[in-house]
């Protein structure tokens, strides 16, 4: 439809490896996700103690967003909308809450766990960290849906609801996790098209 939107950056986190704009920037094999997440946090010198209180979905989203939005960290408010999606919603943390309430002998559900039983909390965490008061949407799809994200991001920018859109896929289910986030804006190397998004996603 239009050619003046670009993918200004993309970040893939999976298999204990962080790819930033296609290049491996960090790797730590053989550890569980929380340990790996901590290694990313340390490697990139992030200083945000609330990180350690987050659930796995929020940690994953937080890290990918931090790598993409860093360097762009001016204090004034930036109008970056968030459009994230996944398959399993907040199932990983839902299970933890569920276990705590089904255990009749030790019935002590944790408020700190419950607050993460919604997938959009991870967008709240990104918004708090980067002070974004912008539009947020979280969708549940069977699989990564480049077409949908493409249309949504494009219309947000064309309708002037946002200057940039942080889009992508963020899924955590037990030990399986994957983040693929990218920023759509008015400059960049890659044209913002369905084919390009799909290619970047599949390149992994």
């Amino acid at each position: 439809m239009i050619n003046d939107l670009f993918i200004t950056g993309h970040c893939h986190i999976r298999d204990n490896t962080v790819f930033l704009n296609g290049a491996v920037v960090h790797e730590q094999k053989g550890t569980d996700f929380p340990t790996f997440a901590k290694s990313v946090y340390q490697k990139f010198g992030i200083d945000y103690s609330k990180f350690f209180k987050m659930d796995n979905l929020s940690k994953l989203a937080f890290l990918a967003a931090d790598l993409l939005l860093k360097g762009n960290n001016s204090k004034e408010e930036r109008n970056i909308a968030l459009v994230l999606s996944n398959r399993t919603s907040s199932l990983d943390t839902d299970r933890r809450h569920q276990e705590s309430i089904t255990n009749k002998d030790s019935y002590f559900p944790s408020p700190a766990v419950f607050v993460y039983t919604l997938p959009n909390i991870c967008m709240g965490e990104i918004s708090i960290r980067h002070q974004l008061h912008s539009e947020n949407a979280f969708f549940i799809f069977e699989k990564f849906n480049a077409e949908y994200l493409h249309t949504y991001a494009e219309s947000l920018i064309l309708d002037k609801k946002a200057e940039q859109v942080l889009c992508g896929w963020i899924d955590v289910d037990n030990e399986k996790y994957e983040a693929f986030l990218y920023v759509v804006g008015k400059s960049g190397t890659f044209t913002h098209s369905i084919a390009q998004i799909t290619r970047l996603y599949q390149n992994k």
């Binding site: 809450h97 039983t117 919604l118 708090i128 008061h133 549940i140 949908y148």
Partner: protein
């Protein structure tokens, strides 16, 4: 003024009625739906009050002519409300134009998962509920029920603003010409999952919830499903459709403050309301009535009240929260209150904010507490969710 998107049908099931007209009757006769929980066996049953839909699952299944125990309650109530909306819109063939379905939910099939959690291994007859847990599954089942074939079906999950966001997204897709018709709203049933969770956050009231009251003790959870049918002007003109009202404006913003609490001065709420007014091309002074989010938690009502004062520069229009009737129906709340906003416009009536006695210390704001007849042109409805997700919808009267 922006043209807005035509609303041609609506459907609802909640603690105060099985359909639109029952809900309306309850709203104007002050009949609340809050009581002790009867359908879920929870350890908290004596300490909480809820807004339960009266019908048990077997009666809902009978109404829908469904087989027994194949679907979660979220799906059952969703099907009932979506079906009513489609019928009211006078749709004979739902696939005759590009039709979408966008539904908000947070619990999905959680009710069945907790019921059968320990049985999945031994009982193949209940394993259909495993896939039923997935939030997207409830959406697909409701879409099937209303006969949608090749169409745009999606699930939105942004906590208690889910349905409002589904409505917003649907309106945009009509405006941009991606769809000709879309059914939008949300569905959430009560479950131990949410009851226990909200209990740990200590924001559940042990008695009737009292929005905007100084002595408010917290919210009552509720369950509901509610949907609107939005149609393009082309269809409305061509089929000479009866329009119930227009969705004029919508806005969403993040409060960027806390995982669950609203900011002290309602920053996200103010932004969402401003954005909605911008889309509607309206001034705050044109709003006749505000259907507030008003959950009756100490935090929400203070933050929302301050946001209203900021947005309206002290001249807050008449407002009320209808949560004293229904309880907080979570992902469905934005849909429920959209239906109530349209009912208010159709009947020129403001619904009362029940159980209100004492003005809050922090500001000079009192909601409407009696049924009030008044010509209404424009109604603003707020829905705020955990994760800082704030949404506002603006509705106007059918011409």
């Amino acid at each position: 003024m922006g043209a807005g998107v035509a609303i041609t049908g609506m459907g609802i099931i909640s603690a105060i009625g099985d359909n639109v007209s029952e809900n309306y009757k309850s709203l104007i006769s002050g009949k609340i739906g809050i009581g002790k929980i009867t359908q879920i066996d929870t350890v908290h049953k004596d300490e909480i009050m809820v807004g339960e839909i009266k019908d048990v699952n077997p009666s809902l299944e009978k109404r829908l002519k469904f087989h027994e125990n194949q679907n979660s309650r979220t799906v059952l109530i969703g099907c009932i409300a979506a079906q009513e909306a489609v019928e009211q819109a006078g749709i004979s063939d739902i696939n005759d134009v590009r039709t979408g379905f966008i539904s908000g939910t947070t619990v999905g099939g959680m009710d069945k998962s907790e019921q059968y959690f320990y049985d999945y291994f031994d009982r193949p007859d209940v394993r259909q509920h495993i896939t039923g847990l997935h939030a997207g599954d409830s959406t697909k089942k409701i879409a099937n029920h209303i006969g949608l074939k090749e169409s745009f079906v999606t699930t939105i999950s942004t906590a208690c603003s889910s349905a409002a966001n589904a409505i917003m997204l649907g309106a945009r897709m009509i405006k941009s010409g991606q769809l000709d018709r879309v059914i939008v709203g949300g569905t959430d049933s009560l479950s131990k999952f949410t009851i226990n969770g909200f209990k740990t956050l200590m924001i559940l009231s042990d008695t009737y919830n009292t929005p905007f009251d100084d002595e408010r003790k917290g919210l009552n959870l509720g369950e509901a499903a509610a949907y609107l049918v939005l149609e393009s002007d082309a269809i409305v003109d061509k089929e000479n459709k009866n329009v119930l009202g227009y969705l004029k404006g919508y806005g969403n913003a993040n409060d960027a403050y806390h995982q669950t609490a609203s900011s002290d001065h309602g920053d996200g709420a103010v932004l969402a309301m401003q954005k909605a007014l911008e889309v509607a091309e309206m001034d705050p002074s044109e709003i006749d009535y505000v259907n507030a989010h008003g959950t009756a938690t100490p935090n929400n009502d203070l933050s929302e009240g301050r946001a209203l004062i900021r947005l309206f520069d002290g001249k807050v229009p008449e407002f009320s929260s209808t949560k004293a009737f229904t309880g907080h129906t979570l992902a469905a709340a934005g849909g429920v209150e959209a239906v109530y906003s349209i009912l208010a416009l159709q009947n020129d009536v403001i619904f009362p904010n029940l159980n209100y006695k004492t003005q809050m210390k922090e500001f000079d704001l009192s909601p409407v507490t009696e049924v009030k007849k008044k010509p209404l042109t424009t109604v603003l409805s707020n829905s705020f969710g955990f994760g800082g997700n704030c949404s506002t919808l603006i509705f106007s009267k059918a011409k």
